[in-house]
Amino acid sequence: MPAPSGLGRIFFWSVPLQAHPTGSAERREVSFAHVRAAHAGQGQGTIRRIIGLTLRHPWQVAIALGSTVVAVSFQLSIPILLGQAVDQAQGVLESNAGTSALVMTGLMLLGASVMRGIFTLLQNYYAEAVGHHTGHELRLAVYEKIQRLPFSFHDKVHSGDLITVGMLDLEGVRVFFSTALLRVVLLGMLIGLGAYLLISTDLVLGLLALSFVPFVAWRSSASQLQLRATWLTLQDKLQVLSRVMEENLGGIRVVRAFAGGRHEMEKFERASADALLLQHERVILRVRATSMMTFSFFLSMGLVLLVGGEKVIAGEMTVGTLTSFLTFMTILQMPVRQLGLMVNGFARASTCGARLFALLDTDVEIRDRPGARPLAAESGELRFENVDFAYPSDPTRLILKGVSFAARPGETVGIVGPPGSGKSTIAHLIPRFYDVTGGAITLDGQDIREVTLESLRARVGVVQQDPFLFTTTIENNIAYGDPWAKEPRIERAAESAQLHNYVMGLPAGYKTVVGERGASLSGGQRQRLTIARALVLRPSVLVFDDSTAAIDAGTEFRIRSAIKRFAKDRVTLVISHRLGALMHADQILFIENGEVLERGTHDELLALGGRYRALYDLQVRPEADLREAG
């Protein structure tokens, strides 16, 4: 850990961090221990489970709680000492010991303050530390889980919701210990012990001094819960506002093209006014609560002054005791006001925790079978045997029905069909993004469900329809699947994908950082980069999932011939609605409604005069239809 400079060095105390060795194997073990730990307590109530997680750091929890007890004790001693000092100054106690007694009390006050400070520091720091350690463990667990959950999960859960769980919900659970759990101890002790001290000194005055507590506690909790509810609504409204702005800026050409500036301003004003109104309501809500709390506090103080003053005048009490009461009230004020935060902490942790644990407890359906072996590499023959498939979300609707075909290394299989025919699903089944619901897919005679996922996916490359580019350099993006790849291999892959010339024309070449979702590349360039990405891996099975839609026919032809040179040991699957992309395949399947209706070579299918033929006519002679329509 880098030592902080300046003053920080003086106050640098050791942190009991979990051992985090640099050796990757050991580190991985530590990380996975964290991941496993975050799953502890499955099936318990949310709050109990969170408490269980924080208790995984028993020493820090113990120090934090212990320090709280000590800090509160010193805190409570201060009003007593102050009262004693006032009495001593008035000479009410032992008449002679005046000055030396005052020195004694003064030093005790100093000591109590220092100790209070030190233990408050320990209390706060270790409370934070517990939260941050728990947060770290949960982060790792969430990340790991999200990365492993299969496509079927990501199909039904919106990515924005996952981000909310991973950031906001995790935060709500993380701060539970410091904002809620520790505060129970702190407030319980402060109010409990304080009340005992006050009431045992003087019943009436004690009750008066504490009279603001129930009211403030109630106001504080109620307003916090209200603020939280309106906060959630506000987030929705701000979300609308931000979407209006983002879409406007992203679609600025459409806005300008339709001279929609005024229309857009109206949309903005509506969303904005809506959010602003709520913001104003929240300001009032918050201020009203704080003003009322302050007033009620001062009102009890006035009562204590009045009644206490009477008692002093009547000789039933000393000025010192009255001072103790008054200073005790000032000490109690802040923590009582923060009672609402504690209530809020519980409310937040229980809703956030419920969502977070629901994610962590989701079963990863697609994973290695027990005792799964790595895929044994032989010739690389791909076989579909009577494959049925239905999405887990709609198990009765079969997307594929009894699909069978075989492809030996060096062969290219073309798959064509109307939109929604199920042709893309085939691409997702080979690397086990989904598992087949009937039949089997084999590679070299091994059922893909019987081998390890890692070894399978290393052999299968899928070039997807909607490529995702990571915010890093072009070369790192190409080497995404094999981050050890060296330049020559990356460049060769880019050459084959017809991307090399373009990249070399960029000022920073392969070191050019491409934006989120590849914003600075055109659709065709993104697709070519994705092809290069698959080629770097030299897969035994290469699947193009309609991945050349944005690439013009000429470039596609050049890509095809470049790849062909290396294709003799590989099975290539081309899924496309564009016949030009697959009419050279060794075998073409025409799929409709999940069934293979026609199969054969291009010439055979043309001769057959069926659906393939009809599609061919449609694509080759679009002008004819146009004339008909015109």
């Binding site: 902080p4 920080g8 942190v15 006032v86 009390t105 006050l109 303050s113 520091l121 720091y125 934070e128 941050h132 770290h136 999200i146 990365q147 991973g166 931000s242 879409e247 992203g250 600025i252 050409r253 300008r256 500036g261 229309h263 904005s272 003003s291 302050t294 007033f295 001062f298 002054l305 001072t323 008054l326 200073t327 000032t330 590499a377 690389g380 939109p419 690397p431 890692e454 997807q464 995702f468 990571f470 350099t473 790192n476 995404y480 699947g481 050890w484 790849a485 060296k486 291999r489 010339n501 934006g515 990405r533 030299r538 035994s540 944005a550 013009d552 026919a553 003799k568 609605h577 329509a629």
Partner: protein
Amino acid sequence: MAEQALPSEDEDVERRGRPPRAVVGSQKQEEEVFGTAFDGKIIRRIWSFVHPYRAKIWLAVGAVLVFTGMQLTIPLIIGYAIDRGITAGPEGRTTLYLAVGAFLAAILVNAAASYMQETVVGKVAETVLFDMRRAMFSHLQRVSLSFMDKTEVGRLMSRLQGDVNSMQEFLETSVLSVGDIVLLIGIVAVLLSLDMRLGLLTLSVMPILFIVRLFWLPPARRSFMAAHETNSAANGALAEGINGVRTVQSLDRQQVNFDLYDEKSFANLRTHLTAAKFAQVMVPIVDTLTGIAMAVVVIVGGSMVLDTSLDIGVMVAFLFYIQRFFDPIRSLTLQYSVMQRAMSSGRRIAEVLDVPVAITDKPGAIVLNRDMDGSVAFENVTFSYRPGQPVLKNVSFRVNPGETVALVGPTGSGKSSAMSLVHRFYEVDSGAVKVGGHDVRDVTQESLGDQIAMVLQEPFLFTGTVLENVRYRKADATREDVVNACKAVGAHDFITRLPEGYDTVLGQRGGNISLGQRQLLSFARALVMDAKILVLDEATASIDSYTEMLIQKALVRLLEGRTGLVIAHRLATIRGADRIIVLQNGVMIESGNHDELMALGGLYAKLYTMNYSSFDDLPGTQDDSAPSTS
């Protein structure tokens, strides 16, 4: 295996340890967060937003002064009550009642002042934030499109949201700071006037805190910044992992990414623990200084009370002031960072507001109305994005009312630029673009927009229902108009199959319908506009043949009875045009109908006979390195 077919320069790479190319999360640089604390120009800029509400601000400042006055008075009243009332024997009872009455009055005024100040400031601050955002947003609607082209949406969004929000703290606390300064001066003045000697002694701890804070602030702020940065890095990596999860799984990067994420999360843990140390280290320091001050009052003040040179009530008042002593110092030193943050955000906001508006309506610009003839003419137009690099050179042509002209040419030939000029997205360098016989610079932009319907290459849809999207800004279009337009372009069938027909909410950017369907909707949107001129940039991405057929038919319908200027890629579209204009490197080289151009035997004939499906497919002109302007 495929590997053997390739030269093996890097087969012996040792795949252990940290992969050299692997990164997770954005590599983007964080923006500067702290500026100079005070920048007159920025302050004036911010003030210009606050100015409309200045009366309220003065009211709030007044309230803050009253509030601060009451804070100062309350201990004095308590002290007075003790000295003149409580300790004065039975006769003091009236004084006690008087003092309690004064106390009640003071807390009422206190509550009213604080309520007024906080609500006024809170509301004004929120309103100012929304005003700033509105000013930026509406400015962005008018800045030149070339600025929008080169600026990422994300960057603008961070100005509109992050920077505006970070002004909030500044706006809310600035008025309070006035109160803090007054409170600080007030406490010093009151203590000194109560008793000069004791006051000086007690106040001597104040400079110590100032000095400690000065040393503490820079390293502490660095640690807070580091915590902030590692947090956004970890969150960025999580968001990337979620958005790119399909790619991550298909390239089997889960393990590598998990290790890298572990590093980020661990760094986040470390920086947060360091930041927590810095935050908490002030606690014992402040407590120790408070302890010293209390000890001084008890020992010195107490002795003074003993020898009756000081009233006991004054001593109690001193003890009360000490409790509040450090609050203003603490918030004032924090205010320094708040100001620095606000200045750097303010500068970025000002940057956006200062982007020049390149295109404005001429004074007395005429309104182009529907009875203009609908012709489009380019007269010796020369145009460049960057001085000295013209993309259109002396181009002249005329499109007669009702005529359809196809613009063809290789990528980078200037087609898209020509199209943008018709709508006056940019200003020509020389020559003129005339619409309906008027120079586009002589008419209002809005009326120009009314007469030109534009269809862009990439269909952009807004979040909202199908109906809202097709109607867009044409508020007076009835549901029937929309349905008719959709029927005309052949979109009606698929729309009625959507779950809620025309009222189906389209996901962000139209994600839940296919590209071809989005294209049809953007056609319908143009049709609803019912403009005299249609400018269309045909999509290059290939769409499945079934939708493609619909689009070709819709195009014919769309061009009926309108002047059409089409950037054409498809042969069918080109052949359907009345006239074809061929551009190359910004120069118009050929013009005529299909048969004429074929007879001419120039570039067009060459392109045509090469029989590519799209005219961008010139072999050897893989020049997508040219800046994309479409």
